[in-house]
Amino acid sequence: MKLSFVRRLNWMLTGVVSVLMLVSLAVQTTHFNSLFRPLIEPELARKAEVVGAYVVAQIDRAVDLGIAVDKLVGMDELLADTLAANPDVKYIGLEIGGRLTAYAGVDAARSGERLTAAETAAGADGPSFIDTVLPLESGGVTVARLHVGMGAGFVQSALNEVVYDLGSVLIVAILLNVEILLLVVGSSVAAPLRRVSAVIRRVGEGHLGVRVDLRNRDEVGALARAIDWALDSVRHRADLSGTEPVMAKIGMMQRVVELRFAIFIFSLAEELTRTFLSVYIKSLFEPVPGLTMEMVIGAPIALFMLLWAVSQPIAGSVSERRGRRAVFLAGALMSFAGLVGSGLATDLVQLIAARCLTAIGYASVFISAQGFVIDATDPKQRAQAVAMYAGGILSAGVCGPAIGGVIAGQVGFRTTFLISAGLALLAAFMAWRVLPRVPVPRERLGRGLRLADAVLCLRNPRFVGLAVFSAVPAKLGLTALLFFLLPLALDDQGVSQSWIGRVLLLYWLLMIFVSPMAAKLSDRSGQRTAFLVAGGLLAAAAAYVLSVPGSLATALGGVATLGLAHALLNAPQLAMLADVCEKERAVLGETTVIGMFRLIERLGSVVAPFLAGLFLAHYGYAGALRGIGIVLALCVAVQLVLGMAFRPPPADLPQRTPA
């Protein structure tokens, strides 16, 4: 399904949105300096006076008791206490005769015994501190002066926050653009026009009995009706009333497009909670005898992943019997209930129960939606349709954490869960309208997964190398690093939810943009193993980068590296699977082999929280991140060894070309 129309529209709209945002940003920046700064700075100075007056009162009391100002003991501690209680104050200093005798605060404001911040008040590009002076008097003489400094950068950093937020919003807006354009243009313009083209082509081949049969009430609908009228009238004049082979209904492809939007909304529900889920779990933590805190807070995430993995095949087979629509709706409602429950949970047990319900709901929704896409498309369109449907999930991955971080920062974790629940309900409503009530007749594609299939696959060492030592570690890395450790570690360092959201967004951005390039490159070069090894090692390196103590910079670098690594792995893994499992594919069918691969892969997500929790309990954040990195690196080594040891005999190569 080519979407050149959508793409062009998207570029135009994105361009307009970007320009508008940049203009508003520029306007805000100038206003910050000309309008807000004069308002904020006196406010800061007033606050400094209040804080200073509190310290002065204490010094005055000591002086009244007969202690001379230069004899005061423990002033540094007193100032440090005051500073700790007022985080927006940058420094407090007591100056006697030009010398700083007591000081607490940032080093940048002083130089030895001189308070440089007070001297450089009239700097070229504005002072970095706003210095407020309170005199200390004894017998009508000023004996000392107390300086309270507020950061002048406060205004600047507030402005920066706005810029970063706008940046995130811009990215989200572009993706939302794509989603909405796909929905609107795809379902009411592109798909109907393609239908019209197909009909005209059939007419050209001499089949006059076909009709477009569109019910759109817009211009495209009018065009279709005009064509139908023309065909009817030609047929009438030619007196042709013979039966023509019926063309496939147009409805299905339209529905896939609309379903993508529902899936996007539904995925968004889960992704919104991504930045703070592990922090939220930690806040509900209660000690469990015999288990460390880190293990316990890993449990809800691990159970979630496990239930998701286990219930997916079950929900899949149920949806084949009961219809995709019923299972999708049931799943979405379960997720709705689970998300509401997560938001209202008062202890860890309630939260785990709610998360389990959510997991079953997710599994049901995704598998039934995927099933519907497969049912509704013929094999030629299928790959594209599945890719389009999966694109919705990926966009949600980018939009979710970015929006979720901002929402959680504003309204709190619990309310964000309730918003997520609302999104799940909205998705259910869309699916209720989109998915057909009568199941689509379908040929039987495959059968359910059986244990024997797993045994057959796992006997192939190259399959094991690929699934267990490449795909599992990829999921393990994603869940352990990105969903579990990083949000906890960043929250621990006092990083805001908005920033955690921005950091996570980077991963999905790289996935979206690098994945297709990596797929093309690996196909062209045929060097699948090289891609897998490079991706695996990069992921291990990402864990190491994340473990480097530091600021957001290392977190951003690590997440970008991880995104790049997984983007390299994505396509080559599937291509490699086809190469490696030729025999199994012949016996079990492609769908079963891929299903088995996906099932095994999910084990990585299940193990991840436990492993990460275990490492965290013993080695702290940096140690845990590094530990995961070591595990990932070891997996690459095993994969290489397995690949080398069981290399297919070279004699095979000339006869068989890879599919």
Partner: protein
């Protein structure tokens, strides 16, 4: 750190509510309803804060009671008064400080009805260490119809307070080795100080020819401590040193430029000592009043009332002493301290 009247009263009402069931397995009966309880207070002096606090609490508790305060300056004189007290049959006896309490009730493992009060419930106040002095078997379960209040902050808290004034390296403990509770207190102080890396110099009073501890040696002991490098003189809840010779200790320490710390209230209020961490005696007396009301109202049998310490203490600082030593308190301490002005 200081204790407010409200917190005491809040604690009192809570305790009264929590213990509404009267006990039956007791030999000493509570006062019958409608009858006025008779309380006898035995104290070395009538004007001590404990007595004031006790009377105040009983007066405001709503309990119908008469409080008869009798001054017994020498604990040894009590033995002669016992027959008269036993004959008068008060409903409750209150004893102030360790010596008088011991003289009134004796040791728990040596109850002798002929020499001590055994059939009347006794509430003591400001007893340093009733377990070490064998007045009761344990603090929660006293093992007899005797209970009361203590007035000394835990040794670790005392040491922490001393160290937050300055990081002293050597402290001299000046005490009477003839007082059992002081031997225990100094031993505890040494253990805690070792944990904190502080050295404690043992400045026990020497005994004279008759074997009695000799307070005349106090100035020399302090001078020796100063020569040995001590920076602070610690005095505990010691009758001979802290109660009877506080002025000597204070003046000699100032002369030797040594800081002083005291764990009871009166010495620092009366003499030129530098600091003290104390339970104000009035509050300790009030707390004893609460325990008396619990017993007399029949809420709890006397042997089920635990011996307790107030868990908030007042830091007293004498700025005059700090000036003379040129050793001023850190601002953090100054902010929470009650300043004692020179008279």
């Amino acid at each position: 750190m200081s204790l407010s009247r409200r917190s005491v009263l809040a604690g009192a009402s809570g305790a009264l509510l929590a213990s509404a069931t009267p006990g039956f397995a007791q030999s000493i009966k509570p006062v019958a309803a409608g009858k006025t309880a008779r309380i006898l207070v035995l104290t070395p002096r009538k004007d001590v804060g404990d007595v004031l606090g006790f009377r105040d609490f009983i007066g405001s508790s709503g309990l119908a009671a008469t409080v008869d305060v009798r001054e017994v300056p020498q604990a040894s004189a009590l033995a002669g008064m016992l027959p008269e007290i036993q004959a008068a049959k008060p409903d409750l006896v209150v004893t102030v400080f360790t010596p008088l309490t011991l003289a009134a009730v004796g040791r728990y493992d040596d109850p002798d009805p002929s020499r001590y009060l055994t059939d009347i419930p006794v509430v003591f106040t400001s007893v340093t260490d009733p377990v070490a002095s064998r007045i009761v078997r344990g603090l929660d379960r006293t093992g007899r119809a005797v209970t009361g209040t203590r007035h000394i902050a835990p040794v670790a808290v005392q040491l922490k307070t001393m160290l937050s004034y300055r990081r002293w390296k050597k402290i001299a403990a000046l005490y009477n080795p003839g007082e059992d509770n002081m031997v225990v207190a100094v031993r505890d102080l040494k253990e805690e100080a070792q944990r904190q890396g502080v050295e404690v110099l043992d400045s026990a009073l020497p005994r004279d020819g008759a074997g009695a501890p000799n307070p005349a040696a106090i100035p020399d002991l302090i001078a020796d401590a100063a020569r040995a490098g001590a920076e602070l003189v610690y005095i505990g809840p010691d009758t001979l040193v802290a109660s009877n010779n506080n002025a000597v200790v204070a003046e000699q320490a100032l002369a030797q430029k040594l800081a002083t710390f005291c764990s009871t209230e009166l010495p620092i209020r009366r003499a030129n000592l530098l600091m003290g961490l104390v339970s104000p005696a009035v509050n300790v007396g009030r707390f004893a009043g609460l325990k008396a009301v619990e017993i007399l109202s029949g809420a709890k049998p006397a042997d089920a009332v635990a011996v307790e310490t107030l868990n908030r203490f007042s830091l007293l600082l004498r700025i005059g002493a700090a000036k003379r030593l040129d050793l001023y308190p850190p601002m953090r301490l100054l902010n929470i301290a009650e300043i004692v002005q020179d008279a």
